[in-house]
């Protein structure tokens, strides 16, 4: 379905995740973050870039992977994106949330 984000029409699924990553840019990301009560800082963007990089390489996302990458420590990750950090950060990053086969 379509949603207006940062003054443009973006395709999102029922949970608000972008369906087409090509429609994402920083303004879209910033607006999505604000909708979830998050004000984006440089550290927030570092994490978003890391997640988008993994997505484009089709590599799975996990807390352990984030810890190992050194992009951020996990306690900080939870405080930057409170309430299900992987769920939140992937939504803001314009990529699908981590999923299983069903």
């Amino acid at each position: 379905m379509k949603k207006i984000i940062a003054d443009r029409e973006i395709d999102v699924n029922e949970e608000g995740y972008l369906v087409d990553f090509n429609q994402w840019d920083k303004e879209v990301g910033r607006t999505l973050a604000e909708e979830h009560g998050i004000s984006m800082s440089d550290k927030h963007w570092d994490v978003i870039e890391y997640l988008q990089d993994k997505y484009q390489k089709e590599e799975p996302l996990s807390i352990r992977g984030i810890k190992k990458s050194g992009v951020i420590n996990i306690k900080e990750f939870y405080s930057l994106f409170p309430g299900g950090p992987l769920k939140k950060s992937t939504l803001i990053a314009g990529i699908p949330k981590p999923k299983s086969c069903i």
Partner: protein, 414 residues
Amino acid sequence: MKNLVILGAGTSGTMMANHLVSSLPKKDWKISIVDQFKTHYYQPGFLFLPFDIYTTKQVKKKGSKFLPKGVSYIQEKIDLIEPESNKVLLADGQELPYDILIVATGTKTVPEEIEGMKGPKWYKNIFDFYTYEGAKALRDKFRTWEGGKLVVHITEMPIKCPVAPLEFAFLADSYFKNKGMRDKVDITFVTPLDGAFTKPRATEALHYLLEEKDIKEVTDFNIERVDHENNKIIDYADTEVEYDLLVTVPTNMGDPLLERSGLGDDLNYIPTNKATLQSTDHENIFAIGDATNIPASKAGSVAHFEAEILTDNILRYINGKELKEDFDGHANCFIETGGGKALLIDFNYTTEPVEGTFPFPGVGPLRLLKESRMNHMGKLAFRWIYWNMLLKGVPIPFVDAKMSEKGKQLEKTQ
């Protein structure tokens, strides 16, 4: 004489040995297969062992029985792969030169990755069922367990057989009902994902199973450690889940051989082209099954579909032809739901599991994303198919390597 070496004689390695022995000319190619273990396990059977649905005999056999004549079988630990010199070093000092290498070393559970998991309570009130030893120990525990809080838990993704933990919870519900003690058992499903189901069609079709079976969900749980003294698992947000009996799927990682050889990613999986199954770093190395890093499920059916395509691509490589980007991530899996019923899902990289019939439109006889007794028969029959057809590289009739759209309700009708 050229050498083709297969590392690992599990599901994938054995299938490739059988496919290739009939495709490669004997006078030109020597095929060798190496595995440190002589026992071949039917891993889908581990789910049934804790519930006394299968016996230990039914889930293991001598692996060499399934390897074809004409393939040289070496039972030895593999020390190192040296891609720069095209050879493999074994623990006993043997060197195996190769012209083509197939990595089929699978994935294993590593409970040591989480603090407190493999401690003094391991196999006392903390179990896995992803190993023969774990499933057997859990069977013995369940036989005399008098009830309490049963927590079924996933450490992190990816895991092989991603539906198995849910199947376990469903079968546990039936098992304790049959024993007349379901009211004494509290079952909670704990996952790092945001639901027991994460795909929209599956969630809509199947969420009722959790309610019907009174299985509680704790989601977005990223385990940091197990407090085995106080019987609880704790995540990075300091959320705690108490248990009397913890059945966990530990971190899954590829074989340490890949780390030693500098060929693995941070989970020890070998970077592989998801459509051709060729290594992304060495053109004469190919990979199949759980050992790869491709975004397909880690499941036996996936390896079966890959085997056909990989065999074709190896022949193309040998003949200097371009490889075909034919693998579409196809997986086909039965999911036990307890009470003598099961679901079937059939999907690939781009199509999520949807309702429909399989393999024939309308006629079926199997139903996709819906419980049926026929599906459960299919799951049980599969053990015979595994040992007698799949491992030997015999194609399954009417089921192609690439996923078919026939019989699938791709668009949900409102």
